[in-house]
Subunit: 446 residues, 2 copies
Amino acid sequence: MAVIGDGSLSGGEAMEALNVAGSELGSNFIIIVNDNEQAIAETHGGIYQNLKELRESNGKAQNNWFRAFGLDYIYEENGNDIASLIKVFEKVKDSTQPVVVHIHTQKGKGYRLAEVNREAWHWCMPFDRATGKPTVDFGSGESYTSITAKYILDKVKNDKDVIVVTPAMPMSVGLGIEERAQLGRQYIDTSIAEEAAVAIASGIATNGAKPLLVTNMTFLQRAYDQISQDVCINNAPVTMLMNFTAFDGLTDVTHLGIFGLAAFTNIPNLVVLCPSSAEEYVNMLDWSIDQKEHPVLILIPGNAVAHRAADKSFGDINKYKVEQQGEKVAIVALGDFYQKGEEAAAAIENELGFKPTLVNPRFGSGLDKELLENLKSRHSLVITLEDGIVDGGFGEKIASYYGPSDMKVINLGLEKKFYDRYNPQQLLESLGITAEKIVERVKTIC
Amino acid sequence: MAVIGDGSLSGGEAMEALNVAGSELGSNFIIIVNDNEQAIAETHGGIYQNLKELRESNGKAQNNWFRAFGLDYIYEENGNDIASLIKVFEKVKDSTQPVVVHIHTQKGKGYRLAEVNREAWHWCMPFDRATGKPTVDFGSGESYTSITAKYILDKVKNDKDVIVVTPAMPMSVGLGIEERAQLGRQYIDTSIAEEAAVAIASGIATNGAKPLLVTNMTFLQRAYDQISQDVCINNAPVTMLMNFTAFDGLTDVTHLGIFGLAAFTNIPNLVVLCPSSAEEYVNMLDWSIDQKEHPVLILIPGNAVAHRAADKSFGDINKYKVEQQGEKVAIVALGDFYQKGEEAAAAIENELGFKPTLVNPRFGSGLDKELLENLKSRHSLVITLEDGIVDGGFGEKIASYYGPSDMKVINLGLEKKFYDRYNPQQLLESLGITAEKIVERVKTIC
C-alpha cells in the first residue's frame, strides 16, 4: 500500500509511478490518495479541478485522472471515519490489479485552530493547546526570512518584470497568504513540482523577464537535471533563492541543507552566491535578479543576521574579497560560516600573536585564482570553512588548486553523512569547527 | 508552442508541466503531442492505453488523460499530412487557453527500413540509403556493451531474484528486442521515467530481490533526489549500471557523461565503482548484484576493452589496489583512465629513470586513507587521473586529504564546462592528459 496526499500528486515522481502502476505491475498494489484539498499552501494545477469533480460526483465524474493512468478507482467521502475506511479497504484488499482509493479527509480534523488555519498548521513546533501559540521562543529580532519577504514585496512592486516562482514553498521565504495576495500575477505556485518550477523560471528568463525561484535547499535536488540541462546549458538568468541551507536549519535526515554546495557548485555556468551579511545578501539578490548573463543560486544564511558593508555588484564572477589583510594563515570562510572565520581569526591573533588574513569568497562555485596566487607570498596555510559537506564542495577546489604548490590547506566542513536529529553545536566541535580547535590545528602546522 | 513525443510523456517533468499548464497559465499555450506509438524502445505505462483509446476513437474516448489535467484537446489522425496539420493549427492558433494538439504520426515515414525497424532507427550514424547499414566502421572486436549484455542474460537466467529495470534505455547495455524477450518477467521498462525506475529499484532491493538499473550516465541526473532520498538514506542495495560515462562516448552537450562522478560520488552511502578492465568490471557487477549492504553505481568503461586479473570481492569499501609499487611519484588512475595511468607510468620510467607507483583506486566515492598515508613515506607527488570533471570529483578528495601535508598533488581531468561536439583527443592534449605532458609536469615538481 502506498499513501500520498493530494498535494504531492503534482510531483513528477508521483505521476511517473502512477503511470508505471497503471500497466506494468499487475499486482494488488493499493494507492491511498488522502485528499484534504491542501498542499503545503493551497493546491495549484489542472488535476485539482479533476479531484474536485470527483469529490463532488462521489467519484463518478466522467473524466477520471486516475483511470486515465490505467488504474482502478474507488472513492470514499468519509475519509476521517474509521468504519468507512475499513469497509473500503475490505473491498480492495484482494484486488488483483492496482487500485486507487481516493479518500476525502478534513485537514486538522478535531483541532479547531488547525481546521481553520490550514496552511499555518502544516507543521509546528511544540505549542500550547488552548492558544495554538508555540511554546518555543524564536526570538523577536530581525531574521533573514523576514528580510527576504520584505525585499521580495518591494522588488515585485517596483519592477513588473519580476516573477516569483515556487514549488509550493512560499513560506520558505516568508510569503504568507497576505503577502501572496500582494504579489498578484507576479507569483506562480507550481504546487509540489520542482522540475516544472525550474523549467518555467528558465522560460521566463529566456523571454526577458526576471524569475526568482524560491524553496528550501533540500527540495532543489528534485530539479537537478532541469538546472543543468534547461537553465545552465542555456545560461538562462534565473535566480534561485534557497532557504534552510545551513547545517543547523532543519536537522532531519530527509531535509538537510548541507548537500547543496556539493550538488550544485559543480554544474557549469551556475554562479553560487553565499552571502555573509544582511547587506551582502540583499545586494546579491538585487544584482542577480537584474542581471542577464548568469544563472544564479543564492544560499540564504542560516545564522543570526550580521551587518557589514558590502559590494553592490557581483558581475566580476569568482572575485573574492579580502576583509582583513594579514600574514602566515589565510582563512577563507564561505557564506554563513564567515562569522566562524572572524572568530577563528581573532583567536589566532590573540593566542598566536599574529594577524591572519580573512577572505570572504562570496562565490561558492569557483576560484579567484589571482587572489589565491597572491596569498602564496606571505602565507603558508589556507583554512577553508563552509556550511556543507567537504566532499565535492568549496574547500576541495582550493586544496586542488594549491595541490602542486607548497601551500598547506585545511578544509573544514561537514562529513559526507546522512546526519539525523543531531545537536548542531556538538557536531561542530566533533568536526573541529570552533575557534579553539582551529587555533590548535594551526599550531601543529605553522 | 511545445512539441513532445508520446514516449516523453511518461517523464515527471512533462507531467508536472501539463498540470501547471492545465490551470495556472491562462494563455494560448499550444502543446503538440507527436504520437508515433514509440518511446526509444516500445512505450510502457497506463497512459499509453489511454492514447490508444484516443487514437481509436478519433479523440472522442470518454476518459481523456489530457482533459483530466484541465487542458483543452483536439485530435488529428493524419499527423504526417501537412495540409491536415495546417488546418488543425488554424483552429487552435488563437486559442485563449492551453490546448493539446494530439497528432498521430508514423515513425520513420517515407523510408521503408525505418518504418519497419522502429527501435533500431531511433538514431543512427551515417548510413547507406539502400541497405541501411552504417558507413562508419565500429570495429568488430569485443566491447563493454556486448560483455554487459551477455553478463546480464546469464545472470538473470541463473538467478530468479535479479530484476533488470530501465527507464526506456535497454539498448544502453545491448538488450535488444530478442534479449528482452529472454529476460521475460525479470525485466521492467518504466518508459522514460528515471525517477520511477530508481524508486522501483529501491523497492525491489528493500524487499530482498536484486535490482539492476541500467541507463546512460547523463539521464541518471533526473533521479538525483530519488537516489539520495530513497536509495541512499535507506541504504537499499540497488545496483545502478551506467553506460556512456566517458568523455568521448557521446560528445553532444546534452548527453555528456563527464558530470557523473561529480554529481553522484558526493551522495552519502553510495559506493561508486569504476572498473579498469573487463575482468574487474564483471567481478564488480557480480559482487554488487549479490551483496545486500550498499547502493552501488558502476560506470561502464568507455575505452577499448582491457584485460587484467582482478579481485572478486569489493566488500572492503574504498580499498584501493597498488598495481605497481614504485617510488617518488604515485599515479592514482581511476576507471577507464587507468590505462592512461599505465602509459604515464611507463613514460616516467623511460624518460625520468625511476619507477613510479601505480594505483587502481576502483572506488570513485571515497578514500583509502591507509594507502594514502603509506604513500607519504617514499613519494612526494601524487597524480590523479579521472574521466570526468575535476570539480567535485575524485581527485579533489585526494588533494584535500593531503592538504595539510608536504605531499604535492596534481588533479587531472576535465574542466567544469559544457563541452559540445569536440575532438576528444585534442581536448585531452589541451588538458595535459597525455603521457608526454604528464612527464613534463613531473619534471617541474620532482
